[in-house]
Symmetry: C2
Subunit: 357 residues, 2 copies
């Protein structure tokens, strides 16, 4: 027997923005057919949620980077949370049908994967499967290492986070508070997001960068300047924060979502402050801290179950076909929290009781 | 009795470039008269050489910086090497007539100074008084700490220095070689400067950034990318080097001479590389390493007398009046080596024999 497998293929180089049209745009829809009987050293995984991440735009650019670009004509790269639905003979010691896994499956409903591309997920009590792709996944880990290993907020410090209502930013800001920062300020793109940051996540202040006077608000919100800046946005926001850098400030360069779709990227014009205030700007990639994942995940799960760290998901319905538009909306700032595409509803999950999810 | 004292006064804010005219420009000439009998807690210093430094443009801007701006109407700030010609009663235990001193005298022929503004200079065997303002002064120390404390070249590393024929750059590149860098590449603004770097200072390659194909030359000269970039220039050069950054590169942000006179400073557009290659960019100010000056000066003097470190001076004749044009020429890249203005020729020095100088 075979299974019909919906896939999203990377078809055309963005120029420079992603075009979400599935007929003429960056991606196209394909339906392949895969046998339900998997080879001995493989598992068959059914995707439930696909993660949409700001880094994806970079994966479509054939530039020297931390990861090879996606090749045109192949399934778009992406991480999903899903369930094992069939296990090859040699994999039975590691996997069982119904296991929840984090899979480098790409943008498709089903994937036949070897041991390296699939990772069994332990769902800690009080946690849910999608946590493994959010707070307890790449975004949470990125926030954790960026803040604890690069930013290193000290008690008394002022910490500013850009893209603060995004998946990584919201965790980064909360970790800064947990680590004893005196003042955590978030930058986000709407009044609702700002409310969410201060009312629900405990940020000390939040600034809507779409307000005309946002730079003045930033100044007022950082009376003792900025000791740590956790940047997901780049461009003008990085520039404004650089102008507010405190002596010996640490600038964590995590992302630059404002620049990914730009044909002419813009560097920080207030660069002179790097010298006068002895600023350290450091880029990092979460994979470099792999040997420390276990400790980080233990901390994150503890904070999550203690309620010190709050999760927020932004789930896109409509199946895989909705993913390209979702990605465009991600760059447009539509989401508060972790953006995911529901590929297969949890109601169709096998084995696990719905109540537990 | 009184002494006629020629001074250069900071008169008008540059807009944005320095105007060297002494009648209508940034500075004006003044002659004050000072008594040759100094107060008990002061010394009278006669300047011989005035240091001209890229940082000077920043001192004329009323922006938050590492040092307060110079006030209009006051003597322009600057460091000189000179001789003590009169000593107040309470200073006689520290100073004698004829002592060579490094003085925060400003742009003037004579200065009455307290103990904090004047520092007796020991001239190591084989060294000359002006060394105290160059290789054994701020520029040498800046190169030393920028390279050893921030850049930290490792054996096998490729090191690139911009403004490499300038006072700091030429020392920075030589230190990189001394510290075992595999390949040291200089960026400078003329074929003569490039020749000087490779033929006289032992740089492995030098690139004239005024050549049309300088970016290609930079690529060819850094086949293993750039591990350490010591930047004195900023702007387009920083940008091109960022695009060539190796994984975990250290970018020493020492200066940005290309931007000091710019009304619209330009940030590095290749900023994404900071993330993908995990680059650390760090600004620094030499004063922060003050407690390590003795060790640094011992190293620098040793290398200098051993011939491992070569000095190069660029001395402007014509007295103090020539200083404003000299400063403009400094930003124009006229000098190879340390730029100084001869305020009083060494032939007029007291006590010390000319042969020794």
């Amino acid at each position: 027997m075979t299974i019909a497998n919906k896939q999203i293929i990377y078809a055309n180089t963005p120029s420079p923005a992603i075009d979400p049209s599935l007929s003429t745009g960056t991606f196209k829809l394909n339906t392949s057919s895969i046998p339900d009987h998997v080879p001995d050293n493989r598992v068959l995984v059914r995707s439930h949620y696909l993660s949409l991440d700001p880094a994806m735009r970079q994966w479509l650019t054939a530039k020297r980077s931390y990861i090879a670009p996606v090749e045109r004509g192949s399934v778009m790269r992406g991480q999903t949370i899903g369930q094992v639905i069939s296990v090859g003979k040699d994999m039975k010691n590691q996997f069982s049908v119904g296991d929840w896994v984090l899979a480098y499956s790409g943008w498709q409903e089903y994937a036949v994967l070897g041991a390296k591309a699939v990772q069994k997920v332990e769902i800690p009590p009080g946690c849910i499967p999608t946590d493994a792709m959010a707070v307890l996944g790449m975004t949470g880990l990125t926030a954790y290492f960026g803040m604890t290993e690069v930013g290193k907020p000290q008690p008394g410090n002022t910490v500013v986070v850009s893209g603060a209502a995004g998946a990584t930013g919201m965790v980064a800001g909360q970790i800064a508070k947990i680590k004893g920062a005196k003042r955590v300020v978030g930058l986000a793109g709407s009044a609702d997001k700002c409310n969410f940051l201060t009312k629900e996540l405990g940020f000390d202040a939040a600034i809507n960068y779409k307000d005309k006077d946002w730079k003045k608000q930033l100044k007022d919100a950082t009376p003792e300047y900025i000791d740590v800046f956790f940047d997901n946005v780049g461009g003008e926001i990085l520039d404004a924060c650089l102008a507010r850098a405190a002596r010996d400030a640490r600038f964590v360069i995590c992302g630059a979502i404002s620049q990914y779709n730009s044909a002419k990227p813009q560097g920080p014009a207030s660069f002179m402050t790097v010298i006068s205030q002895r600023v350290t700007m450091k880029g990092f990639i979460v994979f470099d801290y792999e040997n420390k994942y276990p400790v980080a995940l233990r901390d994150l799960a503890t904070w999550l179950t203690q309620g010190k760290l709050k999760r927020k998901e932004y789930i896109i319905k409509g199946g895989l076909e909705a993913a390209p538009q979702g990605l465009v909306d991600l760059y447009g700032g539509a989401n508060t929290g972790k953006m995911m595409v529901e590929v297969t509803p949890l109601t169709e999950a096998i084995g696990t009781s719905k109540a537990k999810l």
